[in-house]
Symmetry: C2
Subunit: 218 residues, 2 copies
Amino acid sequence: MKSEKISDAVVRRLPVYLRFLNELSRREVPTVSSQELGQKLDLNPAQIRKDLAYFGDFGRKGIGYDVAYLIEKIQQILNLDQQINVALVGAGNLGHALSNYNAYLKDNMKIVAVFDASPAKIGTQINNITIQPIEELTETVREKNVRIGIITVPDFEAQRVADQLVAAGIGAILNFAPTILKVPPEVRIHAADFTTDLLSLAYYLDNGNGKEQPVHES
Amino acid sequence: MKSEKISDAVVRRLPVYLRFLNELSRREVPTVSSQELGQKLDLNPAQIRKDLAYFGDFGRKGIGYDVAYLIEKIQQILNLDQQINVALVGAGNLGHALSNYNAYLKDNMKIVAVFDASPAKIGTQINNITIQPIEELTETVREKNVRIGIITVPDFEAQRVADQLVAAGIGAILNFAPTILKVPPEVRIHAADFTTDLLSLAYYLDNGNGKEQPVHES
């Protein structure tokens, strides 16, 4: 099912679908149509049907999608049918803020370790996780089977941290540092640098229209 | 020059170019080739030449791009030849973290106002900006000519804040709340929700390769 190459834009919409489907599930709504999904998520229903068709024939004409089944399938597709452990490197304001989002992640993804270089922070707790020294990163990543790293250290430290994460065997990095990281091609990087987001938004101030939400169309 | 529709992926690369060009300028490097840019930014030099050609004939064969001229041009393209004022709504951990990035923004973009609903926070300072009550949002946005809003409030408050920002005349929103906002088509929204980033990264853990940095290719 995963043999076909799925575009990044589609992959980025899947968690958005999942979030709303989980909400429906909590409200015990059994089925949902692509029209309802489209209205709620501000997406074209045809686009949604096309996205979901990549992964199999989920929908039933006139009935819609079975919410529980669709959640299960999207979780499988996103590898979230297993627990994915995440480590956060950098326990500053941003690190604190991100660790608060653990509650939003659910779906079998969890920040399980936090690292920082500052002796003042090491040993203190951040959302019930004890901050560890960076020196313990490699060992902890391996022990706890951490698959994804979040980098929230200053830009000049980011490459060194990325190298350590990669050496420890991590498969993907979410990088908040405003710098370009060099990693081997098998490691997936997503640049979450908000300064890039903000500066590029300025372009659209004079250029009128251009809805981009919820995800970067391609 | 702006009559041609430029793809979002190109627009998102421009701040990345700008950041490195500013670094070169500080080091008093007069010219840079697309090869050097490509190596530093982990992008294909041909892609860079193509991106920059959208905006005019900047480069000189064998010499490269004039750094100062290219900075000026990219700033113009991004509307950063004027000061763009930004307001931040939500002074929690994430708001604090983002306001620290003011130093990275330079380039004529600045967070000039911060709002929060909490009486305990109102009147206190965050990076030299006094936190104002949300009730003052409309007036301040108009007075200070704020063009972009950053939303870092909890998800259930985000739509109300977005409505207020739009009513006050803002042109673009960077939304960190994990929810889909409804705004008029002339308002540009960028979803910076990191939970979406993180959950979609899980997809690539089993699927091998897939460099995405520095910007979402399209």
